[in-house]
């Protein structure tokens, strides 16, 4: 009985310490960011702009600009909502999509800082509202308009002059959702949504895709130079080379990853990382790939864990019986 009381005291203080240095300390160290379930309707953007207005008022400078930005955000996302209500026609959309193929053709050529993403599974990976917003104004949709004096200078900014009709936007999105929504693997999801900026060296991929195996060192080096050149372009455009994501699942909490991917500005205000607009299913695919590469021992852990614990439970029971037999004559 006494031993159990002592154990209770030890366990109590251990748990208090654990609670203090883990859950409690981490809750105090990181600001809380509310997720919004991978839906994109501009709520977060408007809130950020509102905060900007408050800040401008406090500092007394650029108040008009902040106010204008808030208005622009409101108008933009209201327009997106309006287009989302339209009935899109996939057949018309297919014809209009030809405009997109000028850049999104899988040629892997850097255009204005990045390689235009492959859209093979765009309908399955990205949210409908986000796609509408992106075609309407890429910088606004990805919440990086702060980077541009005029959002036309965004690498995809010219789309604003190419697709001007709301119905056409609805048609293109309908087409993508119907025809570009096939089964997608977790690796494809990562490649299409992330890989043109983020390398993944533990999976041997770079901004140029999977690294082939070369027979001659000369060819390997030539490829490496191409990768460096591509990385330099991405770096010039983004301000710094986006981090390698090999073990990012272990470096950031699950909540951080989710809210960051939904809206990078929420976790890193001012970052040049665009919102990529993954839908919930799309994000799950990407996450699965990050886990596969960054935490490959998970299946083995889960398979072996119970057996090891069972071993020690049996060990402990036997040890208890041994102890009992050794101590039975002592008291």
């Amino acid at each position: 009985m006494r031993e159990l009381k002592i154990l209770a005291v030890v366990v109590f203080f251990t748990l208090v310490t654990y609670w203090g240095v883990e859950p409690f300390a981490h809750s105090q160290m990181h600001k809380h960011v509310e997720g919004h379930g991978f839906t994109y309707n501009g709520t977060a953007d408007t809130k950020e702009a509102e905060a900007g207005v408050v800040k401008a008022k406090e500092s007394g400078s650029k108040e008009a600009e902040a106010q204008a930005k808030l208005e622009a955000k409101k108008v933009f996302w209201a327009d997106v909502e309006k287009i989302a209500q339209l009935q899109g026609n996939a057949a018309n959309g297919e014809a209009a999509f030809a405009t997109c193929l000028g850049c999104h053709n899988g040629s892997g050529v850097n255009m204005g800082g990045v390689i235009p993403p492959n859209l093979d599974h765009a309908g399955a990976l990205y949210d409908k509202n986000y796609l509408i917003a992106l075609i309407k104004d890429p910088a606004m949709a990805s919440n990086v308009d702060h980077k541009y004096e005029d959002t036309m200078t965004h690498p995809m900014g010219s789309i604003k002059t190419m697709v001007t009709d709301d119905q056409q936007i609805a048609d293109i999105v309908a087409y993508m959702q119907e025809k570009m929504a096939g089964e997608v693997t977790s690796k494809q999801a990562f490649d299409e949504a992330c890989a043109r900026c983020h390398a993944m060296r533990y999976a041997k991929t770079t901004q140029l895709g999977d690294t082939p195996t070369f027979k001659y060192e000369k060819d390997a080096l030539a490829h490496k130079i191409k990768v460096i050149e591509e990385q330099e372009m991405v770096k010039a455009y983004m301000g710094k080379l986006p981090p390698d994501l090999s073990i990012m699942v272990r470096a950031r909490s699950e909540h951080f990853m989710e809210t960051f991917v939904e809206n990078p500005q929420a976790q890193l205000p001012g970052t040049s990382m665009p919102r990529v607009g993954l839908s919930h299913e799309g994000y799950e695919k990407v996450k699965a790939y990050l886990e596969e590469v960054g935490d490959p021992s998970k299946p083995a852990r889960e398979a072996i864990g119970p057996w090891v614990l069972l071993f020690f439970v049996v060990f402990t029971v036997l040890a208890y019986l041994w102890k009992k037999s050794q101590w039975k004559d002592l008291h």
Partner: protein
């Protein structure tokens, strides 16, 4: 030369040459331990077992780890985690073990303080134990450098900076320790050597010394009773086990130790398989980058209390307070002026002192991780001052303690 006769068994052969029978008797079957003990007395063996687990897992990791600033991070996070069969298991055992060993060390230390096991002939047990604590701390710190992540780098930066001695500005000393102006390859390789060779050797030596210091004063018991071990041993050997106050280390004491170890290893492997993140800080999964300071730099949990004694004060007083905190516990046997060897609950004010110490150290530990802002700063200063006053308070309290 001794006269040797033909041996009839391997045991006999060994006994003639190594006196294994005598060794076995002296070190095990007739090494007497008090009977009046609880499971806290098993923490020594739990520590020995954990050290063994750390040593074995460390040997496996050593086969694949590369002490090179360019290769270290990937050798740990890719080669060991992805390519080496069960490399992840050894790494998680090593990481969890390094954290849990400190939990057990603290329990072991506080058990000693509670039951007055550092007094009256047992001073060397305490002192050798404190040396072990220092050696384990150095081992933990040097090991933390090896994955060469952000926290390795910046913890290395902060801790080695302490050696500049505040206003003394002994940057030459800091550079000498680092082998460079900032942590780099020279820094990593020397900490690698310390972690895998020099400090483990010191630890093994100190463990032997620690066991040795137990021999003459014997292990303390739950009531702090003075036992005539020889008389009690005779009783036990005569079969009067009930009357005797002692038990042999092997198999009686050991059977209890092994049971406690079993319970401990259930917890240990639960952590290894299902809850290892607490022991492997996420920040350290970002590669070391000398141009990007992490938002929060903090040591592992077991160093937080002393870190928090350093932090709330201005530079020089902070360093002095930190120095005192590191050394203070060594002096415990000499500043406790009471002649009583008894559990804290029988020692009046000492009992209060003990629990204030525990609570204060936990408060310091938690605050050591929190950002030093607002209320946390004030609380940190108060808790640090309380810690520094605990020494003088102990002298006064024990001076006036009634003899039991």
């Amino acid at each position: 030369m001794a006269k040797f006769e033909k041996a009839n068994s391997v045991n006999e052969w060994l006994d003639q040459r190594l006196a294994v029978e005598t060794l076995k008797r002296v070190l095990s079957t007739e090494y007497w331990i008090p009977k009046d003990i609880n499971f806290l007395w098993a923490m020594g063996m739990v520590l020995a077992a954990t050290f063994g687990v750390l040593l074995i897992s460390g040997i496996f990791l050593l086969m694949y780890y590369k002490p090179d600033a360019n290769l270290a991070f990937d050798s740990v996070n890719y080669v060991i985690m992805s390519e080496v069969g069960y490399g992840w298991l050894w790494r998680h055992i090593h990481g969890v073990g390094a954290s849990v060993v400190f939990l057990i060390i603290y329990i072991h230390m506080f058990t000693g303080i509670y039951y007055g096991s550092y007094k009256k002939g047992r001073e060397l047990i305490w002192l050798s134990g404190m040396l072990l604590f220092v050696a384990f701390s150095a081992e933990a710190f040097s090991g933390y450098m090896l994955p060469w992540g952000q926290m390795s780098y910046w913890a290395g930066m902060v801790i080695t900076n302490l050696f500049s001695g505040g206003s003394l500005e002994a940057y030459g000393l800091v550079e000498w320790i680092r082998g460079d102006y900032v942590p780099g390859d020279a820094f990593l390789t020397r900490f690698f050597m310390l972690h895998v060779l020099l400090i483990p050797l010191v630890i093994i030596g100190l463990i032997v010394l620690h066991f040795g210091t137990l021999r003459i004063p014997h292990v303390n018991n739950q009531e702090g009773a003075e036992i005539d071990f020889e008389e009690a041993a005779e009783l036990y050997k005569a079969g009067k086990k009930k009357e005797s106050k002692v038990i042999p280390f092997n198999p009686v004491f050991l059977s209890k130790d092994v049971f406690v170890m079993g319970v401990y290893f259930i917890l240990f492997f639960y952590l290894v398989f299902y809850h290892f993140n607490f022991a492997m800080d996420p920040v350290n999964f970002d590669p070391a980058d000398g141009l990007m300071t992490p938002a929060h730099i903090y040591p592992e949990w077991y160093f937080l209390w002393s870190y928090e004694i350093l932090r709330p004060f201005p530079k020089d007083p902070g360093l002095i307070a930190f120095g005192i905190a590191q050394a203070a516990l060594f002096f415990l046997p000499f500043i406790d002026r009471s002649p009583n060897v008894a559990p804290a609950h029988k020692r009046g004010l000492f009992f209060v002192w003990f629990w204030v110490l525990i609570v204060d150290m936990i408060v310091l530990t938690v605050l050591g991780k929190l950002p030093p802002e607002g209320i946390f700063n004030t609380l940190g200063t108060v808790a640090a001052v309380i810690f520094l006053l605990m020494g003088p308070a102990l002298i006064v309290i024990t001076k006036f303690e009634k003899k039991l």
